[in-house]
């Protein structure tokens, strides 16, 4: 079970809802993924007047937990305003907090992120911060009131997979006991399996499924990889060794050197 803000989930797969060829394919992909938490971007869809109605209805019909996000927000004020709009629209105090620092690389503005996380936590929100793999920023986010951290493993939409495994391993061991979700940068199911093997609790992704040639099949492939990665983590994989180790005993054989 993956538990976040006191709620248990069987699935460790959080899925985004943008960029699918059609809402029908999105719905089919969600069912194939087994995801119980969907993140939705408020900013573009509402364009200021809360009129994304029919698209929201389609999401609600999927009967999963909605995690609204503040994608595309470039300032603390924008992110806080968007989070409050999302709370009214979806009647949830969950918010995936993104404060983008750079328009092109979509790198989070970690200073604005900590500030917005603090404001929103004080306001009763349960904040899921999209952050880098910087441990000090992670600590500040916990101090600000976050009970989950969502580090990237590569830039948003880059599909590169974990580019700095050492940093992710250090992050995991530093924040033992804190739910950690790898958010952004995953491109293939093997990437998802890799970060679950490292001990991360869950992954959040969107483009890797939505822009695949067959989104529904890819959603299923990710679900299987995530399950495999988690099972491997629980089964305590071998650590790499510097020499060969035969799996059959060599006792009794002559050693010539």
């Amino acid at each position: 079970m993956f538990e976040v803000y006191g709620e248990p989930f069987a699935s460790r797969f959080l899925l985004g809802t943008a960029q699918y060829p059609s809402p029908q394919i999105l719905a089919d992909a969600v069912r194939a993924s087994g995801a119980e938490i969907l993140t939705v971007s408020l900013r573009r869809e509402t364009a200021g007047s809360g009129t994304g109605g029919r698209f929201w209805d389609l999401i609600r019909e999927l009967n999963v937990k909605v995690l609204p996000n503040t994608a595309g927000c470039h300032s603390v004020k924008e992110a806080v305003t968007t989070a409050r709009m999302a709370r009214d629209l979806f009647r949830t105090d969950w918010i995936k907090l993104e404060v983008i620092g750079h328009h092109d690389s979509l790198q989070p503005d970690v200073f604005g992120l900590v500030e917005a996380a603090s404001i929103l936590s004080d306001d009763g929100f349960k904040v899921f911060p999209y952050t880098t793999d910087d441990i000090v920023v992670g600590e500040r986010l916990l101090e600000a009131g976050c009970q989950v951290l969502m580090p990237w493993c590569a830039p948003i939409g880059s599909a590169k997979g974990p580019v700095n495994t050492d940093a992710l391993r250090a992050y995991r061991s530093h924040f033992s006991g804190v739910p950690l979700v790898v958010d952004a940068g995953l491109g293939r199911p093997s990437h998802a399996a890799a970060v679950l093997e490292l001990g991360f609790d869950a992954v959040l992704l969107n483009t890797a499924v939505a822009k695949a040639g067959h989104p529904v099949a890819m959603a299923k492939a990710f679900a299987m990889a995530i399950e495999a990665g988690r099972l491997a983590c629980e089964a305590q994989p071998l650590e790499p060794r510097d020499m060969a180790v035969p799996s059959t005993p060599v006792l009794g054989m002559a050693v010539f050197e």
Binding site: P21, E45, G48, R54, K211, G213
Partner: protein, 325 residues
Amino acid sequence: MKVGIKGAGVAGLALAHELISRGVQVELLEKNGDLSASASWLAGGMLAPWCERESAEEDVLRLGQTSIGWWSKVLPGQIRHKGTLVVAAPRDAGELNRFASRTSGFTWLDSDALGALEPDLAGRFAKGLHFAGEAHLDPRQALTALLAKVSASGAEASFKTEHFASATDLVADCTGMAAPDPHLRPVRGEMLLLHAPDVSLSRPVRFLHPRIPVYVVPRDNGVFMVGATMIESGDREAVSVRSTMELLNAAYGLHPGFAEAKIIETGAGLRPAYPDNLPRVTLSGNTLSLNGFYRHGFLLAPHFAMEAADRIVQHLQEKSLEANH
């Protein structure tokens, strides 16, 4: 037997044409004062089934191919058979490979071949894709010409009214987002018209970008249509600053000559879409609905108008047989 058609967008006009050619009497009703209120008025007018396959279902490729022949036959001289060019900025070369892997019907162009095709883009892109079988038209000219053609063939066309002049045997609803259909959802699109006498392009150019793909379609007299955003929203208000910046940035990235262009029009409209983003023809009682063209009005209206017209003719024949018994 008379069919009343509500809505003078591309769906309503194509259906009127198909019914008249099957010998059915038609009255076309448009509740607005002219053709400019329809989503079709803001369309790109690209007949690009191969390119659309990048994100659309196989049906769009299959059914969309009939549209090029249909428009050429119905409005001879208005269709430009120049194909489509697809390019990306050097750092987004991956997008071009991705686009190529999802589509067919193209050839790869190197910089020289690209410059031979569109001299204004010479030296600007290392490679591109050319979809030679595609075509484009000017939607406003096409809608106007189609209205003139169906009127000349005997269709009554009434504007600024919601009532048919005389009794109808069947009503076809082609009103897009104005239709009372709970399964339809609006997908907002925003576009710009630029007057750029310094830029010369002879075919639609798609400029790929991971987040903000746009296209530029040449019209007559140095005018270019730049589009279009895709936002899950029913907001009909004016174009946003963000969208305008994104569209203009892309146009400028394609050709710096667009920096000197004049913005002569901005537009925002609502595409009607079903959950699978494919159009539907539904017949219930004496009402037919032809709707859900999403971003494929000019591309798919011919096929679905023919299908709807066939079903209407069959329905009216069955009805008249019943009446005679």
